[in-house]
Amino acid sequence: MPRERIAMSADEVAAFLAAKRTAMLGLRGADGAPDGAAATISYRDGVLVIELRADCEAARNLRRDPRVVVSVEEYPSYSRIRGVAVHGRAVSVGAVEGRERFRVDRPRIESFDFAKMKRAPAE
């Protein structure tokens, strides 16, 4: 993704993640091929937590192979697309009422903000 020049600042990333409740996950399926899922997320004090139904395929996949990317984006218009991807390892921190929570350890963050492009794209 992102060229450095349109990356968000650390504060912008933190505010963006803290405001989001839904993210898409990229992970690897039982066959090793890529798989995807939607998840509920929360971000507090620099810690990103994914929440999934404990019996869903994505949760099973993450228990087997914790490599994950959590992708959050918003697209109010083409020139204002913003997104953050958090790569890391999903570590289960337990399940409550059938919902399993995974903390994303060793996060590596990429971000982009089209509004930071020098030349705005045509609309």
């Binding site: 990229g26 890529p34 798989d35 995807g36 395929e57 990317v69 218009s77 609309e123």
Partner: protein
């Protein structure tokens, strides 16, 4: 694969918000927000030829596509397609139809710009043919 379930096809025709999951050369998954157009059993995406996603899927064409409603949709829904991606020959076009929903802000100007970048060879069109379909 056999044709997609009608409900999945109906969803894909009405939604373009797509997250493409590829594998980096080191095996780590990557996820790229994109616009996906469904047409006759396949999903079409366009991106820059030199992008990381093109490098990834050239090395390993296995991909997943998560096509979803907006996050704040009262009834958040989606379809996951798993399959193989291929880069179409130069000159291919995105299958925009009058019925295809256009993402906010992507007027005719953006569509023309994208198509001229494809014609110049700066952008490519990627077709994903699913062999597994799941609803969210």
């Amino acid at each position: 694969m056999s044709p997609l379930p009608p409900a999945a096809e109906e969803f894909l025709r009405a939604h373009t918000r797509t997250f493409l999951v590829t594998l980096r050369p080191d095996g780590v998954p990557a996820c790229h927000p994109m616009v996906g157009l469904y047409h006759e059993g396949a999903l079409y995406l366009t991106t820059y030829r030199k992008s990381a996603k093109v490098r990834n899927l050239t090395a390993d064409p296995r991909v997943a596509c998560v096509v979803v409603t907006q996050d704040d949709d009262p009834e958040f829904r989606g379809v996951v397609l798993r399959g193989r991606a291929e880069i179409l020959a130069a000159g291919a076009a995105m299958p925009w139809t009058p019925e295809a929903p256009r993402p906010a802000g992507t007027g005719a100007g953006v569509a023309r710009l994208v198509q001229s970048r494809v014609a110049e060879g700066k952008r490519v069109v990627v077709r994903v043919v699913p062999d597994e379909v799941r609803t969210i």
